[in-house]
Amino acid sequence: MKTFEIVRDLLVAQFELDPQAIQAQTALDEVGLDSLAFMEFLFALEDKFHLKMPEHQPQVKTVGDIVDQVDRLLVARLETGQGEGQLETGAVKDAQ
């Protein structure tokens, strides 16, 4: 499963959003996700991908921005050989 699909499904599960309304270019505030809700969502991302998300993310505006950031962190983890566990999905491979 691609990272986008995982992120979309997480958004749908956590906030009961319409999956059809979520595209890579969808702005977070367009689906009602303000900065506070986004910060709460970081926990769901960390749990799913076994990552530590940066606390300050002013550059994240769209769903695609989240996907890009997750992918960058996953790639960095693979390159450094560090990580908190094996990926449960083929997110990096599929996304590349």
């Binding site: 906030f15 009961e16 689906v31 009602g32 996700l33 506070l36 709460e40 926990f43």
Partner: protein, 411 residues
């Protein structure tokens, strides 16, 4: 002096959602008290409470609920009910002249407790980013203002059991003084958490469970009373300056006519009849009414041994011989003690009693206590009774007393 009227009411309580279901259950003596099923119940001495059947996600989006404590969710839905009931077009009125005056005792107990429980037991616990804005005591007032675009003052009052009565009384004064023309008022608390319940357990003021019928465990004014039952919920009202309400042809429930506030300054927890009597007299004087004008009193009536006897004494001190002729009931027997929401909830009870000419009973009364010898409406609801004017008492820990008086708008 500018008069203030009530034009909308909303309630989420252990005895029902919405004013009609809520009041019907009170008249029928249907109790919201029950044995809790939470996993922590085994660790409690008192295993009963009065929970409100409420899931925020049935009323608000999951996205919205994600950053609102249960208390704020309850508050927001009750306020929405009240504003809908008032049929007020917010866009058509001056929102800078609408305030939010809200009461809460514990604030956001669930958020605070969840955070501390995780933080103190797990070195890797992640504190939720929204913790501060969810937990702050003004979260509910702010959220109501935010959702409805209300630009006047949004104020939060926290004086334990009298919080929402104080909030309502202070809004009454603000409208009279011309500071605002309208206010969304009320209170909310959701504190049926393990830590909070253990704290109340330790204070030994909670009712002993009636094993045969847990719903009847709280017995105000009865000689065998053992204390109150913790509850949760929210109640909201819309207050409007009378001419503003009339100008938009609003339905008017009653005039909010009087507010009396006092402090015992005697003891942090033990109530004082003198202090309570001063608040009662102040509320009557504020309303320009005499004891003979009152048709019903909703007592604070917590069902503690001391509390009910002291309130009875205060009623006698303030009302003289009229204390024994005015119907008095404590509806806490059925909806429990809603803490920060209690004053607003019981004002709603009083207003509905007056509007419908029905006096709700003091349920579960069994045995006469010589120290409690007034008319507590113990035989069941009374119907077809014109009340004219009603009073609601709220007497809190800290010796904080707040009394509200309302009268028929047609009077």
């Amino acid at each position: 002096m500018r008069k203030v009227v009530v034009t909308g009411m909303g309630i989420l309580s252990p005895t029902g959602t919405g004013k009609d279901e809520f009041f019907a259950n009170l008249l029928n003596g249907r109790s919201g008290v029950q044995r809790l099923r939470d996993p922590f119940v085994d660790k409690l001495t008192t295993k009963i409470a009065a929970p409100t059947l409420f899931q925020g996600e049935h009323h608000l989006s999951r996205l919205k609920c994600a950053t609102l404590d249960r208390t704020t969710q309850l508050a927001l839905v009750a306020a929405t009910q009240a504003i809908t009931d008032a049929a007020i077009d917010i866009d058509g009125v001056d929102t800078e002249r609408i305030g939010v005056y809200w009461g809460t005792g514990m604030g956001s107990a669930h958020t605070v407790e969840d955070c501390y429980a995780g933080l103190f037991s797990d070195a890797h616990y992640r504190v939720r980013p929204a913790t501060v804005v969810m937990a702050m005591n003004n979260a509910a007032a702010s959220q109501i203002a935010l959702d409805f675009g209300l630009l006047g003052p949004s104020l939060t009052y926290s004086s334990a059991c009298s919080s929402s009565a104080v909030a309502i009384g202070e809004a009454l004064r603000a409208i009279r003084a011309g500071i605002i023309d309208r206010a969304i008022v009320g209170g909310a608390d959701a504190l049926l958490t393990y830590g909070t319940m253990r704290a109340w357990d330790a204070l030994r003021t909670l009712a002993v469970e009636d094993i045969d019928d847990p719903g009847s465990s709280c017995r105000p004014f009865s000689a065998d009373r053992t204390g109150f039952v913790l509850g949760e919920g929210a109640a909201a009202l819309v207050l409007e300056e009378a001419h503003s309400a009339s100008a938009r042809a609003a339905k008017i429930y009653a005039e909010l006519a009087g507010y009396g506030a006092s402090t015992d300054a005697r003891h942090i927890a033990r109530p004082d009849a003198q202090g309570q009597a001063r608040a009662i007299l102040a509320a009557l004087a504020d309303a320009g009414l005499a004891p003979a004008d009152l048709g019903y009193i909703n007592a604070h009536g917590t069902a503690t041994q001391v509390g009910d006897a002291v309130e009875t004494e205060a009623l006698k001190l303030s009302l003289g011989s009229y204390a024994s002729t005015i119907p008095i009931s404590s509806t806490k027997a059925l909806h429990g003690h809603l803490m920060g929401a209690a004053g607003a909830t019981e004002l709603v009870v009083s207003l509905l009693a007056m509007q419908r000419g029905c006096v709700p009973p003091t349920a579960h009364y069994r045995i006469l206590d010589p120290a409690c010898d007034l008319d507590y409406v113990t035989e069941g609801a009374r119907h077809g009774v014109p009340l004219g004017a009603v009073m609601s008492n709220s007497f809190a820990f800290g010796g904080n007393n707040a009394v509200l008086v309302a009268k028929d708008w047609d009077r």
